[in-house]
């Protein structure tokens, strides 16, 4: 049995230690908001926070998580920044197919939490690991700036 803390709740899962956190979330805990996109940390669809840091769940063996590590998924993302990011995403109707957006939003929350006035270069650096095949990038950029502004206000 492996113990992990997801969205503030302690969970026990009977899986091998090398099973990626992505599949633990999706297949064992039925938390399907975190998406499978590539499996090799090239697309960012599986981005979650581990102790606040954006992390690709598909390349994070569940056994590698430190004891007491706090995993936050799209379902559990909350607080001032998360609310501002979600509100901006909805205000600007960022989503198209929406499949990558859980990961985009988790990366954006991490960015705005660390930097409430990101430049275009900051956004490029923080978001280049998150692929959107619908190419909603124009709106993601605008939404991050909008969210950052409302966090600053």
């Amino acid at each position: 049995m492996i113990r992990i803390t997801v969205n503030g709740q302690e969970r026990q899962v009977d899986v091998p230690e090398d099973m990626p956190l992505l599949w633990v979330l999706r297949d064992e805990l039925n938390m399907t908001g975190t998406k499978f996109g590539c499996g090799i940390a090239q697309c960012g669809a599986c981005t979650v926070h581990v102790d606040g840091a954006p992390t690709r769940a598909c390349q994070t063996p569940v056994g590698s998580l430190a004891a007491g590590a706090k995993v936050t998924t799209i379902e559990g993302a909350s607080g001032k920044v998360a609310e501002a990011v979600r509100a901006a995403w909805q205000k600007l109707d960022v989503v198209q197919c929406g499949y990558c957006q859980s990961g985009q939003i988790m990366s954006a929350i991490a960015l705005v939490s660390a930097n409430t006035n990101p430049t275009d270069a900051d956004i490029d650096a923080a978001m280049d690991g998150n692929v959107c095949r619908c190419a909603t990038y124009v709106r993601i950029r605008a939404a991050i700036k909008d969210a950052a502004q409302s966090v600053r206000a």
Binding site: T32, F36, C38, V95, C97, G98, V131, C134, R139
Partner: protein
């Protein structure tokens, strides 16, 4: 074999239209209002009733709650519930293009609903009730959805409104003509009475469907074409609650992954599955005609089990060439005349007297669709011999017929629960229901539990159904007056219609129209025009890819035009405008994009502007791109201006979003997108090899919509064709070298 299943199924496709880009087909298909309403009434396709949608339905999720207890035939477009929600059932798949929002906008307008009460859900699979009027079966594609539903959903909304008004008038004993509806409230001013739709719905459902309803004039629209209507799926897609096929969890379901031949056309020779079966959690290994399926208790285990398989493949009928060899073969083929797609005037004579001749060869690589949600479907066998499928289903009509053959049941016993799809770009619409058929074959063979077939990204990138590799050879001349006097174009590339049920409709006299659309019918008037086509066969599977033939024909045409403009000493915009006198809508978007982009204004050294204009799917689009070419020859796309005329705009922000996305799609693949083969094996495996557009690649995009009350046309695809050639022409403006081989990375430009 699967390829033949659909042929045997005698697919009842429409005979006079096509699933993709046949210019003019859509125009002929506008049904008369009166006949249409008769059809609606005859099938009972509109029901305003007391059916309670489930909470999932209200959130835009699975259409599980649509079947009312009194009427098990769920042939509905509009459900008005006592809780005052209005749910529009979308017969089209929403794969990001926003069609659920668009269809709901149409209904809400005629219904005079309040946008906040609108909901969306996917209709059940039923080609009789929910067929695409252009296809004859239920399916989404070819940017047809809005054009298809424009009449039927306005009718549905107007009929529902009339029923609500009649109910209120009867309840209040007032004349029907005095009852008003606005923003979801039905009212009678003189008696100061009002009611919500929800309060009237149950009684309204008892009325007959009106046989004749008036539709609004465009000047009276309050929702259609107006800003401020948010997408119906924007909340569920920002909190993780939207359900995609990948997220389906049925009781007892198992996960399957399938080992397919690494070479197209290869088959299983022998399998050693001992190691795979020894992986804890692997339930079964099934050797099937489609490959070797590993069934496990979860996805990770299934993938590990597959890695442990030792399979020997029979490549005797497989493609063993690499793409370099295929291209060499194509060049050889291009030395011979092909099947004639266009032949006007006398090209040979015109060239004989020409003074300025431009010769070009264009190469377009195979391209994968790579939607963000990898292909997957869940199939549960039902006791009646049929099944239920949960999938991002795009061609429900085809899938029902193919799976019926797999299971030996009737198509109507194949139930499909359509889910939000994580992108498609054409990939989910196949003529043999490929991945859904695989899931059904595995579910049938396993037989013990619902099976969720998951493609990994590697399966997707290496799995074929690519935009075909294409070669274009174009020779064209301008005369002393700067007019294009001759144009000879030879196109070589696989036909993805040949051998499918669509062949009869799409391949005429040896010419697959999807290979030449946008070339043989180009808008520029050329007195001497010859376009011909070779369609070499290969086991490599190919498919339409967002904007189909226009992905390559528009690029070749528009890059060629800039070369000819230069040869003629003309400005690229002026050169095009002079040729578009008989094409006012094309000329208009060209002028609009050029004006908004500041065409002609000076740019800094190393920067350039390029333009392209094209019609596809009856929608007119122009792009102007601004690029920077640095001293190493690397290209950055800085800014893109798009102008689009899609007739009556239904939801302007959705149209704008489609233009933004299509621009990124076109440019991203032009920069780095290519699938190559070595010895028949695909070189790329994932997003580290098939390189997607990323945030730092994305230019600023400004979209301008033409104000029009022409019939609405589609916007999912038409933003693609002009995006890449506009960028190429901007590079040409800086470097003087036309970009004729894609992707740009081949030329060291990124």
């Amino acid at each position: 074999m699967l390829h033949h299943l659909l042929r045997q199924a005698a697919l009842p496709v429409a005979t006079d239209s096509a699933p993709t880009g046949v210019t003019g087909a859509l125009r002929e298909l506008a049904p008369s209002r009166r006949n249409f309403l008769k059809t609606v009434a005859a099938t009972g396709a509109l029901v305003v009733g007391a059916r309670l949608p489930s909470p999932a339905l209200a959130a835009g999720g699975a259409p599980a709650g649509i079947v009312g207890p009194a009427d098990p035939r769920p042939h509905l477009f509009v459900i008005i519930a006592p809780d005052n929600t209005v749910t529009v059932l979308a017969k089209h798949l929403d794969k990001g293009q926003g069609i659920v929002t668009g269809l709901a906008t149409i209904v809400a307008e005629e219904l005079d609903a309040d946008w906040a009460q609108m909901r969306g859900a996917f209709a059940p699979a039923d080609s009789k009730l929910y067929g695409n009027h252009f296809f004859g079966i239920q399916g989404t594609g070819g940017s047809t959805a809005i054009a298809n539903s424009w009449d039927e959903l306005r009718m549905a909304g107007a009929a529902a409104r009339a029923m609500l008004v009649a109910t209120a008038a009867a309840r209040w004993s007032v004349p029907v003509g005095e009852v008003r509806v606005a923003k979801g409230v039905v009212s009678h001013a003189a008696s100061k009475r009002s009611a919500t739709f929800g309060e009237l719905a149950q009684d309204a459902a008892k009325l007959p469907i009106p046989q004749n309803v008036a539709l609004k004039a465009a000047k009276d629209y309050t929702l259609i074409g107006k800003p401020g209507l948010h997408r119906l799926d924007h909340a569920s897609k920002t909190d993780g609650s939207a359900v995609f096929a990948m997220d389906i969890r049925r009781p007892g379901q198992v996960t399957a992954v399938l080992a397919r031949s690494p070479r197209f056309g290869g088959t299983v020779k022998s399998v050693d599955d001992k190691a795979a079966r020894a992986v804890p959690g692997v339930i079964d290994v099934l050797t099937l005609p489609v490959g070797v399926a590993v069934i496990a208790k979860n996805t990770w285990t299934a993938i590990k089990g597959r890695e442990a398989l030792a399979i020997t493949w029979d490549d005797s009928k497989a493609e063993t060439r690499g793409t370099d060899q295929m291209l060499a073969d194509y060049r050889k083929l291009a030395e011979q005349p092909g099947a004639v797609a266009a032949n006007t005037g006398d090209v040979a004579k015109a060239f004989a007297s020409a003074t300025k001749v431009v010769d070009s060869e264009f190469v377009f690589p195979y391209l994968a669709h790579a939607p963000m949600e990898p292909l997957n479907a869940t199939v549960a066998l039902n006791p009646d011999g049929g099944c239920t499928i949960w999938a991002g289903s795009q061609f429900q009509g085809v899938e029902q017929m193919v799976v019926a053959h797999v299971l030996g049941c009737k198509p109507e016993q194949v139930k499909i629960e359509t889910q939000w799809a994580g992108g498609s770009f054409g990939r989910r619409a196949t003529t043999n229901a490929d991945y859904i058929a695989e899931a059904a074959i595995i579910a049938k063979a396993y037989g013990k539990a619902p099976v969720h077939l998951v493609w990994t990204r590697e399966d997707d990138i290496q799995g074929g159904r690519y935009r075909p590799l294409f070669l274009h050879k174009i020779k064209a001349a301008v005369d002393a007056n700067g007019v294009i006097s001759a144009w000879q174009q030879r196109i070589v590339g696989q036909s993805f219609m040949a051998g499918t049920p669509f062949e009869k409709m799409m391949v005429k006299n040896g010419v697959d129209v999807t290979s030449v659309e946008g070339a043989s019918d180009m808008a520029y008037p050329v007195a001497n025009l010859a376009v011909d086509l070779h369609s070499p066969a290969s086991p490599v599977t190919t498919l339409w890819w967002r904007s189909v033939g226009h992905t390559h024909t528009a690029y070749a045409k528009e890059v060629m035009i800039d070369q000819l403009a230069k040869a003629a000493g003309k400005d690229p915009v002026a050169f095009r405008l002079a040729m578009l006198k008989d094409h006012p809508r094309l000329a208009n978007v060209l002028k609009l994009a050029a004006d908004k982009a500041g065409w002609g204004q000076p740019l800094a050294k190393g920067k350039g502007r390029g333009v392209a204009v094209h019609e596809s799917f009856n929608t007119y689009v122009a792009h102007v791109a601004e690029v920077t070419v640095n001293d190493k020859g690397h290209v950055t796309v800085d800014r893109v201006v798009v102008a689009v005329d899609c007739g009556q705009v239904v939801n302007p922000d959705v149209v704008t979003a489609q233009m933004e996305g299509a621009t990124g799609w076109g440019i991203g693949h032009a920069l780095r997108g290519e699938i190559t083969l070595t010895g028949g094996v695909v070189d790329q495996t994932n997003f580290d090899g098939f390189l997607p557009l990323r945030m730092s690649d994305m230019p600023k995009v400004e979209v301008h919509l033409v104000d029009s009350h022409e019939r609405p046309t589609g916007v999912g695809e038409p933003g693609v064709p002009t995006s890449a050639p506009a960028v190429a022409n901007a590079v040409f403006a800086v470097t003087g070298k036309p970009v004729q081989t894609l992707p740009f990375s081949r030329g060291g430009m990124v």
